[in-house]
Structure formats: C-alpha cells, structure tokens
Symmetry: C2
Subunit: 438 residues, 2 copies
Amino acid sequence: MKIDPWSSTTYQDYARLRDEFGIQEFSEDLWKHLPHPHRLLRRGVVFGHRGFELILNAIQKKRPWAILTGLMPSGRMHLGHKMVIDEVLYYQSLGADIFIAVADIEAFATRGFTLEEAKELAVNEYIANYIALGLDPKQCHLYFQSRHQDVKDLAFLLGKKVNWSQMVATYGFEGTTNMAHIFSPLVQTGDILHVQLEKYGGIRPTLVPVGVDQDPHIRLSRDIAQAHRLYNVTVTKDNKIGVFVKVDTQVKELLDAAEKTLKKLQFTDLKRITDYKAIYINTAKEADIPGIDEALACIEPSFHGYGFLQPSSTYHRFITGLTGEKMSSSKPESAIFLTDTPQEAKKKIMNAKTGGAATLDEQKKSGGKPDDCMVYELFLYHLIEDDDELQSIYESCKKGELMCGACKKHAAEEMEKFLRDLQQKRTKALNQIQEYLH
Amino acid sequence: MKIDPWSSTTYQDYARLRDEFGIQEFSEDLWKHLPHPHRLLRRGVVFGHRGFELILNAIQKKRPWAILTGLMPSGRMHLGHKMVIDEVLYYQSLGADIFIAVADIEAFATRGFTLEEAKELAVNEYIANYIALGLDPKQCHLYFQSRHQDVKDLAFLLGKKVNWSQMVATYGFEGTTNMAHIFSPLVQTGDILHVQLEKYGGIRPTLVPVGVDQDPHIRLSRDIAQAHRLYNVTVTKDNKIGVFVKVDTQVKELLDAAEKTLKKLQFTDLKRITDYKAIYINTAKEADIPGIDEALACIEPSFHGYGFLQPSSTYHRFITGLTGEKMSSSKPESAIFLTDTPQEAKKKIMNAKTGGAATLDEQKKSGGKPDDCMVYELFLYHLIEDDDELQSIYESCKKGELMCGACKKHAAEEMEKFLRDLQQKRTKALNQIQEYLH
C-alpha cells in the first residue's frame, strides 16, 4: 500500500526544494527500519533529511542519541506547530534524550517581544500544550535561551569559524539588519550543539526535526560543527579511507590517539604519514566512515576540541491552511488553534477549502480530489491514525462515493474529541507547570 | 607655567584626529576644576574627551560615578599600558567606583588566544602589575568577560538597536571577518554599560579612559545607550527646552512621570502636549539639560527601560617607543616592559632616540629638542612628578645646557628605582592574587 499525500504540484515543489538544497529523501528504505514508524514518517509528510543514518544507527544499536527542538513563542499554537511535537514524542518513545529550547532571544531579536512576554507565551501557550499532548516534562530538558549560559557561550565562541559572507549567503542579511538578529542564528547553533557538551550527555548523534524553512540553521550548525573538528575522515583521491588531522598543534599526539582508536576498532594495516598529518586505513570501506568519525570525535575533547558530530535533521511539509493558503496564526480562519473550542474548530472546518467538485452531481460522476483537500490533510496529518481507514477515505473520495459534507462532519467530530481531551489535559498541565520550570 | 609636551607635528596629528571625530578638547578649563590633577591630565597627555562634564559634575557634587577599563591580555605589559592604570588610580582616589574587564572574549575573537591562555596572561602579567602599581583589588570589580553573564546578555540584547551598516561604518568589517570578531564590540558595549545596571550600582556617569584608537567602541556604546533611552531632552527649533518621549507605548504614563520629576527639580511653567509626546519647559536653560536628562534616565527602569547615561571618555596620546616608532610588545627594543630588569631598561634607554644634535658642540650651541626626545617623554609621562623639575629639564635642554648622556643616565636611575619597587610589589601581589579572582 502506498498513500500519496502529495498533490502533484506540491510534491514537485518539495522535491525541487530538497534537491536544490542537497537534502536527502526520507524514503521508505529509511523509515521501514524504525520501530512502529510514526504516521508523519510513513505518510511522506517528513520528506527529507540530512544525516539521519546516524540516528537510525543509534536506535538500532540502542546507543544514546538526542533530539533538540525549539519553540518560538510568537503567537497561538496551531496544528502546524503540533507536528514537530508529534515527532518528538514518537522519538522519545524510541529512547531519545529530549531538549526543548524556548527561543526567547530570537523572539526578542526578530519579532519585537520582550523576554517577559516571550516567557509568558511560551509557558501558557506552548509548554502547556506540549505537556497536554503527552510530553513528560520531567523526562526532558526544557530551557529558555536567555537563561542558558552554556548555549550563549557557545554562540560567542563558535562564531569564530563562520564569517560574514557565509551569514549573508545563508540568511540574506542586509545593511539594515540589526545585530541581535544577525547573531541569533549563532544562538540556535549553540542550542543545537550544546547537547553534545559533556555536562549535557556528551558527544552523540543529535536530531533536529524541523520544517524546511529552518534548513539554514541546520546547515550553519553542521558547517560550524565540522569546522571545529580536529580530525577529518574521508575517501582520498586514490580511493582509500584516510584520517587527517586538521590542526597544526599536537599533530603527533593526535595521530597517536587516532592510531590507538583505530586499532581498538579492529582496523589493521594502518599507514601513518606524519608529514601529511594522515593515517590511511587500507582495510576500511566507505561505510566504515561514520563509525570511525564518531569514535575519533569522542577523543577530541581531550585535545581541547569539541568533537561535535554534525547534527542530523528531518524536514516535514507544512500543513496547508483550511483556506488553502499557509496555516498561520495571523490568519485565524486558516488555522485550528490548540486552544480553539470545538465549535470554533467546527466552523473553520465547515468553511474549509476541499477537493470537491462544483456540484454534487459532478463530484459523484468524476470524484473528488483528496490531494487538494484541506479536510483530507487534517485526517492525514492529525486525525486518523489507521492507514487502512485513511486509504479507504482517499479511495471513496476519488471514486465519488464520499461527499464533502459528510467528510467535514467526520473531521469536525474527530477534532472535537481531540480538542476536548486536550483542553482537559492542558488545564491539568497549567496547574502543574510552574514546578517544571527552572 | 605651561609645559607643552607636544612636538608640533604630533600635536597637529592629535588635534586633527580630535576634530575629525568630534572629540572635545580636554583643556585646562576642564582639569583645573579637578582636585590635585594628575600629571597626565595637566600635561596634556590626555588631550580629548567626550562628555567629561558629567564626570566633573559628579566629582564636584560628590555624587556616585564609575570607571570602566578593559585589559586585553595579548602580550607583555609595557609603559604604554601603564598610563590608563595611572589614570584609574587617580580617579579611584577621587571616589570613582572601579570596574576592570579582562577582554578575554576579544582576545579569543581577534587574537587567537584560548580563554585559558588569556586568563593566564591577564592574571600573571596585567593584574599582578595593576596591584603592584597600587590598585586595591578589594576596592574594585575585576571580572573576565567570558564569565560575566550580565555583560554577555547585554551584548545580545543591546544589539537590537544597531545595524550592520553602522558596524561596517564604525569598524570596517568585511566579508571575511569572523562572527565572533563582529560581535565582540557588542561585548565591549556590554562591559561599558553594565555598570549602570541596578545590581552594579545603578544609573550614573561612567568614565572610560582610553587611547584614541578605542574611540569606535566609545561611539558605539554612546549611540547604543542613547538609542535605548525612552526620553530625549533637547533644545527645540524655537529655542525651548523640550522633553520628548521616544517610544509609542505608555506615553501618557511616561509624560506623567516626567512631569512629576520636572516639578521635583523645581521647574515651573511646563507645557505638555500629549499629541507631540512632549513637555516644554519654559523656565529651563540649555545648561539644565544634563541634570534633567539624568533625572529622567533614573525613572526609565520602572518603564522597562535601561536609562543608561551615555558613557563619558577621555583620550590619551600614545607614548612613543624608545626607537622613535610606536611602543609595541612585538618590538621589545621599543618598549620598557614592567617586568624588565633595571639592566634591560637601562640598555634600552641608553640606545633611545633623543632630541640631541649631531655633535656635542652643535647641541651646546643650538640646544636640544625635548619635544622630539623619547627620554624626555619618559620623564613627562612616567618618571618625574614635579612640574617645576620637568620644566627645568625642558629648558636646560632647549638652552643647550643639558646633554643627552646625563639625561639618559638620570632617566635610567629613575627607571631603576621604579622597576625595583614594582618588582617587589609584584612578587607580593602574585602571592595574594588568587583570592581576588572570582
């Protein structure tokens, strides 16, 4: 069975985006290896990734890994925001160590909120909903950027290895851009990489699940992590696997340590050329690189390096707004907010843009277009867990058996159940929330 | 009596610099109001200032004021570095609250030192000498930028009010400039302004004594302080004194508070025009502006403002190196280091460039040129406290009565006394130093 949630245009858009930015496809070959894959993964809503193999490997080998997700407190939380949390909760069930950054510095720098306003909104709107959705705040690291000294310190220190031209190329900053805004991506890099500091669990694969608009932050963090590495493991021109020391101090000691590590990993036939700052591993294959790289990263802190592994990322599609445009807090009719009443949600669903035909007769004859239907998207992303049930709706619509009125009513009912349940849990969460904050 | 330490060329250079950047002259009219003015002030070595009137006013009215000075740990400390500390010690005797920032983040960002190397150098080279020169570390706030969270937080937050174009205009940054470097001036702004946060003593005049090369940091800090103010006090086009609210929220409340403050300051005949966000003070004169401004600044924190007063600055000339070029750590023969032995110092003095003539006979006939003499500079800046004694050397040289050999010997003897005494005090300081650090 293959559910294709993509309208052909949108699919091409995302595929083009993916290819343009060098994002890898998040294909079935990848998610089928995950335990009970989440609906957003198996339905192609998560469509791309960078370096997810590291995460998969950690899950399969039951080794430690972490997730970092950020929330920008800048309006009411809607279904679009819920998706990342759905993913995070799924990964938490697979053993990920969860870090949640409240991007209050970014809200200050780019949206004009005071830190107090950002905190208020983050706690009462976002964190309350996260907990209501199932996040156990005792089992995760929740922090505010503005109060996390290690994150801010990293932001300062890591900036050494990125220059202004790179920032312009990545973010399109201009002369009128303010300096707090210019610096805020480095705070995000601090967020993403700090989880690999020893006091937060040490060097390990880290996943950052995001919408594709956040890819610049991912690329910056990956570039900066790599730029700070002391070792580089790569395929050489003559097709060998080589370990190279990237710095000019303690070269001998670094090569000694690498040699020891490689032997521990059972690699033999090592050829060391100190003048090239290199060790060639005649018995290694390309597939061995990630493992070698990770093992070498872990010895870098003893040479004053960070040893940060490049963070991995996944990219999800954006849920379309009910009006057919972007789902956005600034257009309340486009979005279902997690604090909407069932009545409000129902009204929006009833007014939603669907894939129905102009007349009932025509729809019965030529069928509906679920790929272009906002109500179907609600089912696909949020409301229906069972793939067969979803498939059956998809096909009934296509065949002209299922009409929009009935479908909207179904969606409104499911949404009511969801919102009522969430409302109860949120009230409880709000009562308990203060104790989780530090 | 008027000692003119300037060679005519140098004088013109500094005067041109001063005028070009809009720096005010630090004239006798200013320093004569200070208690027992320091030799560097009364001899014109401190040649310019911005906003020193605020400091003078605080000294005269015995109101609190602060000094912030920074040290960049990047080499051995020499006589050129000593000048700012001489000034700081003088101002401490007048009641200034002293803050000393170790610019380890800047050393990291711009000079390639690790934070550990910077700390080592700061403690053993600079701070040890500061204490040996007379600084009582218990009577000052000594801190490392990298460990001062409030300074770093201000750096982030204050960046909101300065854009990239301003940074380029001020510092000439380019595409290849790294982001840690780009951000380091904002850390300096954090250094300079944090002393006015309530927990560090609150809003008050702050002096930053610097060499003129540091003026960009001063301008940036002054601009940023002003940009964050909620009130502006100024002379209007029709020559009235007006108080204007610069923000759009709580305008009524801000005007109410300003009105109350102005009445407390005994100003009457206030004309408030809420639509213009203004209060005109018919009974105020231009000279009243600083007092009004300071009083209004102090109420800004209750409206979530900082109320930072623009920091004041003084600018000193650079001491010339013994070789006639710049005194620099990287040219040991040009500099007398505070850790030089008397023998080393003597050798450098004996080889120094002087204002003597080609032959003894010629010098006896037409006299020497103390304005072009590195040895005379040593007397003027460092070795001779008594103005009459200095004057007499100056005149004897001019008249051809004093020859370079004798003068150098005199300087070497004075330097030996100074260095021996300092060496003893430094040894003692190094033994005690650890307890002062936090």
